[in-house]
Every structure is written in structure tokens, then in C-alpha cells.
């Protein structure tokens, strides 16, 4: 991205006031970027912003509470930041947001489906909507639009929820877009038995690694997660599907009205379980019931932490 030089300059300027700035750097191979925790000018030089920078860095913010933190954030990432601020899990004064216009993102699962074993990729380069991937055997030119993760296809963000500094390339377009939620639509076309079988099948594969939880920016309990304790004893260590299912329901319900649909849970899942679908469904219901979208308004009260004596959208059953 052309704005990267400008971004680095601004971070260099601000670094003396900050304890750390979180961004991305090149990872262990050509297709992976990894989070960068920058405390020195040298580390700033390693900063990259490209469609391989897929991590929502807001995840690290609650753990850094009490420190002065700078964060490089795409538009959708700022929604998570907004929600964290709304819940007082981080402090605005401690935070400096370097908002970057999102260059798009690559879903590595989709990339693998296109080019095969990712370990064989020698280089990957981006030119607008074109992605060029070099392997020892061939060079392929792919459409970035085809590689976008699901989360970039259901909600479009033109502007950040909040920003201290904003970086946009001239005539840079918004990559994400608002289309039908195909996963949810597909699920809703099934009958009840098929849906039950769908989840039973998917959730049976869960290995209870809790990566989905650990990567979630809103899962602030972390060490105190009720999945890891006997007091209260919500879950046992048994490996049957009910325990796994229950864990996902706990996770989903704890995120109800809070989940910012960043999709990190699904991205981190080593078993490719479509768990974001449950959260999207809850968000959709919450929007319908309470007209509320999480993270978009720092001053709003989350819908499950408040009420109306007369709920306009809830029609209770007559007996």
C-alpha cells in the first residue's frame, strides 16, 4: 500500500508517547503475516499492510490495559475496538488508533483450494484486485474477490468507527461488500433435522482446543473462562458432542449483542467449523429485536444489559 511509508512515519512520531504499537509484519513464510509489537524504530521498519494481514489486532488490547497502546486497525477491526470501549474493557485515553483503509484479505483456506499446498508458495504479490502466486511449478493469477473471507462479504465498512490517524491511498476502493449471508441462507434452507445433523456433524469434530476463544477480541474472561473450571461446572472433560456443543453455545451466548463478527474464531479454527454462523444468526436477531449493531456506537448500552418495560419487537405468546 502506498500509505505505508506515511503510516510508518506517523508511528515513529508517536512512538515516544506510547508503550507499544501493534501492527503486522511478514510471517514465517510468504503467505503468512504475523502480529508485530513495535517498541523500537527498527521494528517499525518491518511493518507491512497487505491482504495477508488478516489478524484482528484488537484482540490484544484488553490484555494491554493500563499501557499506552497504538494499534494499526482496518475499518472492521475498529468495530471491535468500539465494542471494547463501550464495555469499558479498554480506555480511550490509553489508545491511539492508526486507522488504515483495508487492502482486502485472503482466506488461506480458499487460497489452498486454488493453489494447493501453501508450503510450496514461493511468493505472493498483490496488484489491485489481482493476486499473483508463484510456486516452483507455476505462476497463477487469481482474483482477490474470490479469496475474500466470508466476513468480508456480508458487511461493508467504508469508514472506521473511530480513528486518531487515517491512512487511505488515493482512489482506493472499499474491498468488502454487503451480500447475502450464504452460509446462513444455506442453513436456513435445511429442515430442522438436517440442521441438527449439520451441527452434530460439525461440532463432533471439535477438538476443544479453544483457539476460537483465545483469538476472540471480546472473550475477555480468557483464563477465567467457565469452560476451564469446575466451579462453576458448566462443562465436563468428556469428549462427547454435547460438551462441545454446549461450549459453543456458551461462547455464542456470552457474545450475544457483543460479537463484532470479525471472524477470528472461524479463521483460527483448525477444524474449519463454521461457528461464525451461530454468532451471525444471533446478531441478526438482535438487530431485528433491538435495532442494535455491536461496536458501532461507543456510547450505546449493549442490548442485554438494559431493557424496555414495553418491548416493541417482542410478541409474547398468549396461552
Amino acid at each position: 500500500m502506498k500509505y505505508v511509508a506515511e503510516l510508518k512515519a506517523k508511528i515513529r512520531e508517536k512512538l515516544p508517547e506510547l508503550d507499544v504499537v501493534i501492527g503486522w509484519k511478514q510471517g514465517f513464510d510468504p503467505v503468512h503475516a504475523s502480529p508485530a509489537f513495535m517498541t523500537t524504530p527498527e521494528e517499525i521498519e518491518q511493518l507491512v499492510v497487505n491482504p495477508l494481514c488478516v489478524q484482528n489486532l484488537a484482540t490484544y488490547l484488553p490484555g494491554l490495559k493500563g499501557k499506552k497502546v497504538g494499534i494499526v486497525a482496518r475499518e472492521c477491526d475498529t468495530r471491535s475496538i468500539g465494542e471494547l470501549l463501550q464495555e469499558s474493557l479498554i480506555e480511550r485515553e490509553e489508545l491511539t488508533v492508526f486507522s488504515v483503509k483495508c487492502p482486502g484479505a485472503v482466506d488461506l483456506v480458499k487460497l489452498r483450494q486454488q493453489v494447493g499446498d501453501l508450503g510450496r508458495v514461493r511468493s505472493i504479490s498483490f496488484d489491485g484486485p489481482r493476486v499473483t502466486v508463484e510456486t516452483p511449478d507455476e505462476s497463477s493469477s487469481l482474483d482477490l474477490g474470490e479469496l475474500l473471507p466470508g466476513k468480508c462479504r456480508v458487511m461493508a465498512y467504508d469508514e472506521p468507527v473511530l480513528a486518531d490517524f487515517r491512512f487511505v491511498d488515493p482512489d482506493q476502493d472499499t474491498v468488502c461488500r454487503e451480500e447475502a449471508d450464504t452460509d446462513l441462507v444455506a442453513l436456513e434452507q435445511m429442515d430442522l433435522d438436517e440442521r441438527f445433523a449439520y451441527w452434530r456433524g460439525h461440532l463432533d469434530r471439535c477438538i476443544r482446543c479453544y483457539a476460537c476463544r483465545n483469538v476472540c477480541p471480546m472473550c475477555v474472561c480468557q483464563d477465567q473462562c467457565i469452560a476451564d473450571t469446575r466451579d462453576p461446572h458448566w462443562l465436563s472433560a468428556e469428549t462427547d458432542v454435547r460438551q462441545k456443543w454446549m461450549f459453543q453455545l456458551i461462547h455464542a451466548m456470552h457474545l450475544a449483542g457483543r460479537c463484532t463478527e470479525c471472524g477470528e474464531c472461524e479463521r483460527a479454527c483448525p477444524m474449519d467449523i463454521p461457528i461464525l454462523t451461530i454468532r451471525r444468526k444471533l446478531n441478526r436477531e438482535i438487530h431485528e429485536l433491538f435495532g442494535y449493531t455491536s461496536g458501532m456506537d461507543v456510547d450505546a448500552v449493549p442490548p442485554l444489559l438494559t431493557f424496555q418495560p414495553e418491548e416493541k419487537s417482542i410478541t409474547e405468546r398468549e396461552w
Binding site: 433435522d193 440442521r195 458448566w234 453455545l249 431493557f307 418495560p309 414495553e310 418491548e311 409474547e316 396461552w319
Partner: protein, 140 residues
């Protein structure tokens, strides 16, 4: 007075102490006959009703779950049922996505004086669960 002939299904009820548990008592004192499938867990308030208890019961093999509390505005703790209504409505709406009929879970309000209403609720809900039949099976 059993809803549906044949074997009982497992219905778990969560009732607030002040209104609905009292309403169920009133129904008992008035000898208002009811199907026997329901087992009641007493909570201080529907505000104590974590919707996850409902999911836990359904995942543990319950065929139906019923929550009942004070009518809105009559909560012994002023606001508990207001919060509960939002949480429970949301949880109910999630059920079909997971493959559970949303009719397996109902929440309602019954006051301590409404023994007759409690009888109606239990009877209607039990019939509803028998119409739906046993809950989905987890073994393949």
C-alpha cells in the same frame, strides 16, 4: 390427566419463587389437575435464569423447557423479568438455527394468584411437547 397417551416426556420448568412458583402452588392448593411430565426448578427470579440452563437441559436430553416468572412490571426485584425477557426471547430465536424446534422452549408470566392460568400453561405446553415428540437424538 396426561397429555398424550403413552410415556412421559421430560419437561424442565424454571420458575421464579415469588410469582410463578406461587402460581403453581395455587394450582396445587386448588387441585387443578395437570400432566405429570413437568419437573420444576425453583429460582429466586427469572433474572437468575441463564438461557444457557435451557440449552444445557435440551442438550442433556430434556424434551422441553418452560420458564415462567412474574408479569412484566410485577417483578419482586423490579427488573429481573425485563432482562430475562430479552435474554430468553433471543435464546428462543436461536433454537431453530441449531436444529431444535423453537416450540421446545417457551417462557411466560404467571402470577401467584393465577393457578388456573398455570394449569392452562402446563397443559398446553405439555401437549405441545408431546406433539413435537422426543427431542433429537445425539447418538448417530
Amino acid at each position: 390427566m396426561s397429555a398424550g397417551n403413552g410415556r412421559e416426556l421430560r419437561i424442565v420448568g424454571f420458575l421464579c419463587n415469588w410469582c410463578s412458583y406461587g402460581g403453581a402452588d395455587t394450582a396445587g392448593v386448588s387441585r387443578l389437575g395437570q400432566p405429570t411430565d413437568l419437573r420444576i426448578i425453583r429460582l429466586p427470579c427469572t433474572g437468575r435464569m441463564d438461557p444457557l440452563f435451557m440449552f444445557k437441559a435440551l442438550l442433556s436430553g430434556a424434551d422441553g423447557v418452560l420458564v415462567s416468572g412474574c408479569h412484566p412490571r410485577d417483578c419482586h426485584y423490579s427488573e429481573g423479568n425485563f432482562y430475562a425477557r430479552r435474554r430468553l426471547e433471543l435464546a428462543k430465536r436461536l433454537l431453530p438455527t441449531l436444529g431444535f424446534d423453537s416450540g421446545r422452549f417457551e417462557y411466560t408470566w404467571v402470577s401467584a394468584s393465577e393457578g388456573k392460568r398455570w394449569q392452562q400453561v402446563v397443559t398446553a405446553f405439555t401437549e405441545q411437547i408431546h406433539t413435537l415428540g422426543p427431542g433429537p437424538k445425539f447418538s448417530h
